[in-house]
C-alpha cells in the first residue's frame, strides 16, 4: 500500500496520470493480446489465416517461411551448413565476451573459426557442394557482416586514432580528413560506392564479389566511427603515462603497445560494444544494394508467395524480435563491462 502511494498516487496530478495511463495501457495490452495471441493463427494454414484476417495475427507465416527468412536463398537441403556455421560464429562471439577468453590466442581462434565458417558456407571441399556467395542470406549473412566488419575495422581504427593524435602534421591531416569524410556522409552512399564504383576501381578483367565489396565498405565505414571512440580513450590517458614511457627509453610503438593502448582500450570497451550494436543494425541497409540479409530475405520469403503476401507485418515483427534479442543482450553486456571497468578503477 505504502509503495502504491509513493509511486503512483502521491498527489492529485499523479493519481490522474496513473489512472489515465493505466486505462490506456489496459486497452492497448488487451487489444495486442487479442490480436497477437488470443485470435492469432499459429498453424501454417493460409485459409485459416485468411479467415482470421483483421481479428488476429497470422504467425503461420513464420511457421511456413522461417527457413527462407533465416537462411535466405541458401539451397534448402544444404541449410544445415549455414546453421552450423552460424552456431559456431555465435559461440565464438559469446566466448569473446567472457573474461577468461581474453587471451592472445583468441585472435588465432577467430581466424580458425572464420576459415571453418567460410568452408562450411562456400563448400567445394570435403564433398560439400559449392554455394556461391550470391546465394548466402538471412541471419548468417547479418552476423557475418556485423562481426567481420567490426573485427576488420578494429586494427584500422587504432591506426586512424593514433594518426589523428600524431605530432606529424601530414599524417594527422590525412587521418582527420578520412574520419570526418566518412562520418559526414550516410552509410547508404558508401554502400552505393561499393556497388557502383568499386567495380570501376579494379583493373580490367578483375572483378570482386559483391559480398566482399559490401564487407569492405562496411569495414571502412565502421572504422571511422570506431576511430573516434578509441581516440576518446587515448585522450583520457594522462600525459604522465607518455612521459614515463618515453623516459624509460621505449620507442613510439613499444610505448603504444605496452603502455598506452592497453589502458585506452580498456576504458572504451563500452564504446566499442555500442559501435558493434550500430554496425549490427546497419547491416540491414545492405538490402538496398541487393544482398539478402535478414531484412532482405524476409521480403524474398513473403513477396514471392501470393498466399502469404498479406502477412508481411507478422514477418517484420518476427525479425524485429530477432534484432531486438541480439541488440538488447549486447547492450546489457556493454553495461556489465562498464561496471567491471569502473570497479577496476575504484581500487
Amino acid at each position: 500500500m505504502a509503495w502504491l502511494r509513493a509511486n503512483l498516487f502521491n498527489n492529485m496530478f499523479n493519481s490522474a496520470v496513473t489512472l489515465l495511463l493505466g486505462m490506456l495501457l489496459v486497452y492497448a495490452v488487451s487489444h495486442l493480446w487479442g490480436w497477437g495471441i488470443h485470435h492469432a493463427v499459429w498453424a501454417a494454414d493460409a485459409e485459416q489465416c485468411n479467415a482470421a484476417r483483421g481479428a488476429g495475427a497470422c504467425w503461420g507465416v513464420v511457421a511456413e517461411k522461417y527457413r527462407v527468412i533465416i537462411f535466405g536463398r541458401y539451397p534448402f537441403e544444404e541449410q544445415w551448413r549455414p546453421f552450423a556455421a552460424t552456431l559456431l560464429l555465435m559461440a565464438l562471439l559469446l566466448a569473446s565476451c567472457m573474461r577468461m577468453f581474453w587471451k592472445p590466442w583468441l585472435a588465432a581462434l577467430w581466424l580458425g573459426v572464420l576459415a571453418v565458417f567460410f568452408t562450411l558456407m562456400h563448400g567445394g571441399v570435403f564433398g560439400l557442394s559449392v554455394v556461391t556467395t550470391d546465394q548466402w542470406g538471412g541471419l548468417p549473412l547479418t552476423i557475418l557482416l556485423a562481426s567481420l566488419s567490426v573485427v576488420g575495422a578494429f586494427p584500422l581504427s587504432i591506426l586512424l586514432a593514433l594518426g589523428r593524435m600524431s605530432a606529424l602534421p601530414v599524417i594527422r591531416t590525412l587521418c582527420t580528413v578520412y574520419v570526418e569524410l566518412i562520418r559526414g556522409v550516410p552509410l547508404i552512399s558508401v554502400l552505393f560506392m561499393a556497388s557502383f564504383l568499386f567495380p570501376l576501381f579494379m583493373p580490367e578483367g578483375f572483378s570482386i564479389d559483391v559480398l566482399l565489396r559490401v564487407l569492405v565498405a562496411m569495414t571502412l565505414f565502421a572504422a571511422a566511427y570506431l576511430a573516434e571512440v578509441i581516440r576518446g580513450g587515448l585522450q583520457a590517458i594522462p600525459r604522465g603515462q607518455y612521459e614515463a614511457a618515453a623516459s624509460l627509453g621505449l620507442t613510439y610503438w613499444q610505448m603504444q603497445r605496452k603502455i598506452i593502448l592497453p589502458q585506452a582500450l580498456a576504458t572504451v570497451v563500452p564504446g566499442i560494444m555500442n559501435n558493434f550494436i550500430s554496425t549490427f543494425k546497419d547491416t540491414s541497409l545492405v538490402t538496398i544494394v541487393s544482398l539478402y540479409e535478414l531484412t532482405g530475405s524476409l521480403d524474398l520469403a513473403v513477396n514471392s508467395d501470393p498466399n502469404w503476401m498479406a502477412y508481411k507485418l507478422e514477418g517484420y515483427l518476427f525479425i524485429a524480435a530477432i534484432y531486438f534479442v541480439f541488440c538488447f543482450s549486447l547492450s546489457r553486456y556493454s553495461q556489465w563491462v562498464e561496471r567491471q571497468v569502473n570497479r577496476g578503477k575504484a581500487h
Binding site: A6, N7, L8, N10, N14, V17, T18, L21, G22, L25, A167, L168, P169, V170, I171, L174, L181, R183, G184, V185, P186, L187, I188, S189, F192, M193, F196, L197, P199, L200, F201, M202, P203, E204, I277, K281, D282, T283, S284, L285, T287, I288, T295, K312, L313, Y316, L317, I319, A320, Y323, F324, C327, F328, S331
Partner: protein, 317 residues
C-alpha cells in the same frame, strides 16, 4: 647524431612515405576508373546536369516536371531531404526531451513506459522500423471513401490530409478535397526517424539531467519551486551543457538517416541520385553530388550547433 637517427628527419620521411602511398593509391584507382569507363563507353563529366531529367518526382516543394534538367531534380531532392530533416529534428527533440524527463518522474508507470520505449525503439534497426510504418500506413488504413474525419483531419491510405489556413478537407466522390495532403511515404519516413532518434535523445537528456548534482534539485525544492519548475528552470538549463554536443550528433544522424527514404520511395536526394545513376550511368558524379551535399550539411549543422554550444557553455572569468 646520424642522419637516419634524427627524430625530425625521420618524422618527415614517414610523412612523405604516407603521402606518397595515398597519392599512389588514388592515382591507381583513378587510372583504373578512367580506363574502365573508356572501355565500357561510360561518359563522364557533370554536363548531364543540364540535360532534361525525363522522370517525374512524386512530391516537391516548388513543383518539378520531367522536362526540367537534372540539376533541378537534385535540388528538388535536396529540398525534400531538408523538409523531412527539419520537421523531424523539431518533433524528435520535443519527444526525446519529454521521454528523457519522464525517466525522473515520481510516477513509476511513466518511468517504466519511458524506459520501455527507449529499449524497444533503440534496439530495432531503423530501416526495419521504416518498412513497418510504411506497411501500416499503406495496408492497414481505410481508403479515402471509408475514412472518417478526426479533428478535421483525414488519415487514409493516401496519407494524412490536414486543414490549411481555413481550407478544410472534405470527402468528395472517391477522394478527399481541400486541405493539404502529406504523402504516406513522407509520413512513414518522418515517423520512423522521429521515433527512432527520440529514443537516443531521451537517453542523452536523461544522462544530462543525471549529471546535474542532486543538491541543485534539493535546493530548488527548498526555495519552494515545484518539481516541474525545478526541472524546467534549474536542472534542464544546467544539463543543456552536457546535452548539446551529443544532441548535435543525433541531429546529424537524423539528417543522414533520412537517406533511407529510398527504401520507402520518398524522393529525397539519395533516391533521386539513385534514379539518375540508373538512367544515365554516371555513378561517379551522382555519388559525388550526394557526398558533397551531406558533407556541407554536416559542416553547417556543426557550425550552428557549436555557436549555440558556446552560448550555453559555462562562462568562466
Amino acid at each position: 647524431m646520424s642522419f637516419w637517427r634524427n627524430q625530425k628527419i625521420r618524422g618527415w620521411l614517414y610523412q612523405l612515405a604516407a603521402l606518397l602511398l595515398v597519392v599512389l593509391c588514388v592515382a591507381i584507382l583513378a587510372d583504373n576508373t578512367l580506363e574502365n569507363m573508356r572501355t565500357r563507353g561510360i561518359q563522364s563529366g557533370f554536363g548531364f546536369l543540364l540535360q532534361p531529367a525525363g522522370f517525374d518526382i512524386s512530391e516537391s516543394l516548388f513543383g518539378f516536371e520531367s522536362t526540367q534538367p537534372y540539376w533541378k531534380a537534385f535540388l528538388t531532392g535536396l529540398g525534400n531531404t531538408l523538409k523531412v530533416a527539419l520537421i523531424g529534428i523539431i518533433l524528435t527533440t520535443i519527444l526525446g526531451v519529454l521521454l528523457g524527463v519522464g525517466r525522473f518522474s515520481q510516477n513509476i508507470l511513466i518511468r517504466g513506459l519511458c524506459l520501455m520505449y527507449v529499449e524497444i525503439f533503440r534496439n530495432i534497426p531503423l530501416l526495419l522500423q521504416l518498412l513497418m510504418w510504411y506497411l501500416l500506413l499503406v495496408e492497414f488504413l481505410p481508403t479515402a471513401r471509408e475514412a472518417d474525419p478526426f479533428l478535421g483531419m483525414f488519415l487514409t491510405k493516401t496519407g494524412l490530409t490536414l486543414p490549411w489556413f481555413g481550407d478544410m478537407p472534405v470527402k468528395a466522390g472517391f477522394g478527399i478535397k481541400g486541405g493539404i495532403n502529406v504523402s504516406p511515404e513522407f509520413l512513414a519516413l518522418l515517423l520512423g526517424l522521429v521515433i527512432y532518434t527520440a529514443s537516443y535523445i531521451a537517453e542523452i537528456v536523461r544522462s544530462g539531467i543525471a549529471s546535474v548534482s542532486r543538491g541543485q534539485h534539493e535546493a530548488a525544492l527548498a526555495l519552494g519551486l515545484s518539481r516541474g519548475q525545478a526541472m524546467r528552470l534549474i536542472q534542464l538549463p544546467q544539463a543543456l551543457r552536457v546535452i548539446i554536443p551529443p544532441l548535435t550528433n543525433q541531429y546529424l544522424n537524423l539528417t543522414k538517416n533520412s537517406s533511407l527514404a529510398v527504401a520507402v520511395g520518398y524522393p529525397d536526394l539519395v533516391s533521386i541520385a539513385n534514379t539518375s545513376i540508373n538512367q544515365t550511368g554516371r555513378a561517379v558524379e551522382c555519388i559525388a553530388v550526394i557526398m558533397a551535399v551531406y558533407l556541407t550539411l554536416s559542416l553547417l549543422t556543426s557550425v550552428l550547433m557549436n555557436a549555440y554550444n558556446r552560448r550555453a557553455a559555462i562562462k568562466e572569468r
